[in-house]
Amino acid sequence: MWWLKNVYAVDPAGFSGRRDILIRGGKIEANAEGLSPEEVAERAGREPVETLNGEGKYLFPGLIDAHTHLREPGQEAKEDIASGAAAAVKGGFTSVVTMANTEPPVDSRGLVEFVRAQGVRAGLARVYPLGTVTKGMRGQELVEMLDLKEGGAVGFSDDGHNIQNSEVMRLALEYAKLTGLPIVSHSEDENLARGGAMHRGKAAARLGLKGIPSSAETIMVARDLMLAAETGGKLHLAHISCRESVQLIREAKERGLDVSAEVNPHHLLFTDRDVDLFNTSLKVNPPLRSEEDQEALLVGLLDGTLDMLATDHAPHVWEEKARPFSEAPFGIIGLETALAAVWQQLVVPGKLSPERLAEAWSLAPARRFGLPGGTLRPGSPADLVLFDPEWRERITPDNLASKAQNTPFLGQELRGFPTMVWVGGETVLRGRRLYPAGEGVRRE
């Protein structure tokens, strides 16, 4: 049993404050203000008690990342589920939702079960696959949504591609009602976005790079909201990047639509003014937009229009990114740096509360995708993150657990990292070192 003493516990489903937390039998045994040794001993019974002084540390429910690309099967040179799950745990994520745009895409039950099995074998973060919406991600025929759900899919997405055919999107929102799972939309009008390398604006004009206009996103956000309204379907909008989208989503929520949305940390932390021709780690889709967009995203995150934070962890091989800007692939890895960067740049200056951060990165995705976690209530699974706001670490290729290094923080020192992580009560990170569970011994 673990006794976490006097830790600042942040429970988005309850209260925050100095607490003593007990972990026992894979669950949160107690969450109380100051436990006496006698009480602890009584709860422990014959189990040995490991005591940890939580002074100056935060305890969050294990973070849940609703948008990751772990690249397995098919692109294991970029990342695999084991390395991605390791990166997740190092960054404070006890659960990750994986995107289906692998090779082959996760469009059958067998592949859903494979991804889950690989997650269990890795023995680190919990891995929840999304299936594709359409067979082969071709944007035409729907997948066997019911079968995929039985295999463990927690939603459906053709992420990486937009479903350009509005009728197919409408049918997907209708049919997915049978499953109760959300359709995750990668909102992008391909004709408006084609050939673009960064946000269409002054920075792109100056650099001579083809721009992707905000309208490439907002047109599809508007379309998908209209289809969700018409069908009553369950819609989740991935990686919202511009202010017009935030406004559309706000209005849709006021009308009571079953819609949720996510924002990626990089869109909150960088703008198109940070882009130069050589730092391809800032090449991402949707692109880093203007300062006005960035402000609107933060407002949207604070007022709940944007329900959740999600990394869109998108690993690539170094050589793929070591190209001229317009030729490099889109994507930023985020699992290992996102929490530290958001903490340092948004929480420390007071722009974002630890409570909202924990809510947006655990409770909100847990509720939307029907996953356990997101709370510190007694009886909940002990997926927990002990966060040390003073822990400093330099981001180098050597200390990244991810196979990839396409992060804009490479070479920089960040401050604020998880020092312990539990998944289902098992310690998987201790003192920044990983402790994978034995093969197949745990969970499911």
């Binding site: 604006g201 100056r206 001579g208 070591a322 190209r323 317009s326």
Partner: protein, 310 residues
């Protein structure tokens, strides 16, 4: 004066650095006009041209410039398609490094490609056009040509008309001309001159005829005909009527305005023959000056000082 390994663009140069290159180009032009066009200055040095986009005049101009200076000019044959098919630019850079190259002249369809090469090479790099980003030697030869005819460019009005959006020539000229005090106006249809081009810090206009009065220089950009297929303008006819230069239209300037064009010209589209071949047309001057300016750039990057060739 800073010492440079590379010339990647004019945006990062100071006005004095630009003037220094232009000053150096003057004696180079004298050499070029001699019956025996050969200097021993760079004997034993190897200059490589690496053109991923088709080009006749720019590549020839660089090769000529290198040879007049006594360097060996080697062309590395790359087809346009090798960007996607062949080895990566990074591997090409490593190969060139291993060949003990002294200077690489690169043209590439990706913005930033020259800078990318420069960051991975000890050898110097000259940008002969990278995507829609910069084409510094073109702008330098344009500015050299203008200064030869007009003297100091401070306060002179220069109109650049055409496909500004996709033009690296326009971008480099804006940086260079504004640093030397010229007033630049960019003119074109809205589809080729979107509002974000205001990032370049100069006036934007859709109306050529309104801008012409008082213009000292009008530069027509080459119109890529495939832009019509992409829907950026409806027809050559309508384009030419709105933005094509001819002698009658140019009377509105009220001056003997210089007409520049980076070539190759679409005669009858962006420029009429009567103008291109007339006394105001600078196209051939530009070609000659191009060699001189490129000699100056090669020479300075390889460590030369101005007085050696005087």
């Amino acid at each position: 004066m800073r010492m440079f390994k590379d010339l990647l663009g004019l945006e990062g140069l100071s006005p004095d650095e630009i003037r220094h290159i232009l000053q150096t180009a003057k004696p180079m032009k004298d050499v070029l006009l001699r019956p025996v066009k050969k200097l021993p200055t760079l004997r034993g040095k190897a200059v490589y041209t690496l053109f991923y986009e088709a080009s006749t005049r720019t590549k020839t101009s660089f090769e000529m410039a290198a040879k007049v200076l006594g360097a060996d000019a080697v062309n590395i044959g790359v087809s346009q398609s090798s960007v996607n098919k062949g080895e990566s630019l990074l591997d090409t850079a490593k190969t060139l490094q291993a060949m003990q190259t002294d200077l690489i002249i690169i043209r590439h369809s990706s913005s930033g490609a020259a800078g990318f090469l420069a960051r991975h090479l000890e050898a110097g790099v000259i940008n002969a056009g990278d995507g829609q980003h910069e084409h510094p030697t073109q702008a330098l030869l344009d500015i050299f040509t203008m200064r030869e005819k007009l003297g100091d460019l401070n306060g002179k009005k220069v109109i650049i008309v055409g496909d500004v959006l996709h033009s690296r020539v326009a971008r480099s000229n804006v940086w260079g001309l504004t640093k030397l005090g010229a007033e630049v106006v960019l003119v074109g249809p809205p589809t080729l001159l979107p509002p974000e081009m205001s990032a370049l810090g100069v006036k934007l206009s859709y109306d050529l005829d309104r801008e012409l009065p008082g213009a000292d220089v009008v530069m027509a950009l080459r119109l890529q005909l495939e832009r019509q297929q992409a829907g950026l303008f409806p027809s050559l006819r309508e384009y030419s009527r709105s933005y094509g230069l001819d002698r009658a239209r140019l009377r509105a300037t009220g001056k003997d305005t210089l007409i520049l064009h980076p070539g190759p010209m679409n005669r009858g589209v962006e420029i009429a023959s009567d103008l291109a071949d007339g006394p105001q047309g600078m196209v051939e001057e530009q070609v000659t000056n191009g060699v001189a300016v490129r000699m100056a750039v090669i020479y300075l990057l390889m460590g030369g000082t101005t007085n050696v060739v005087a």
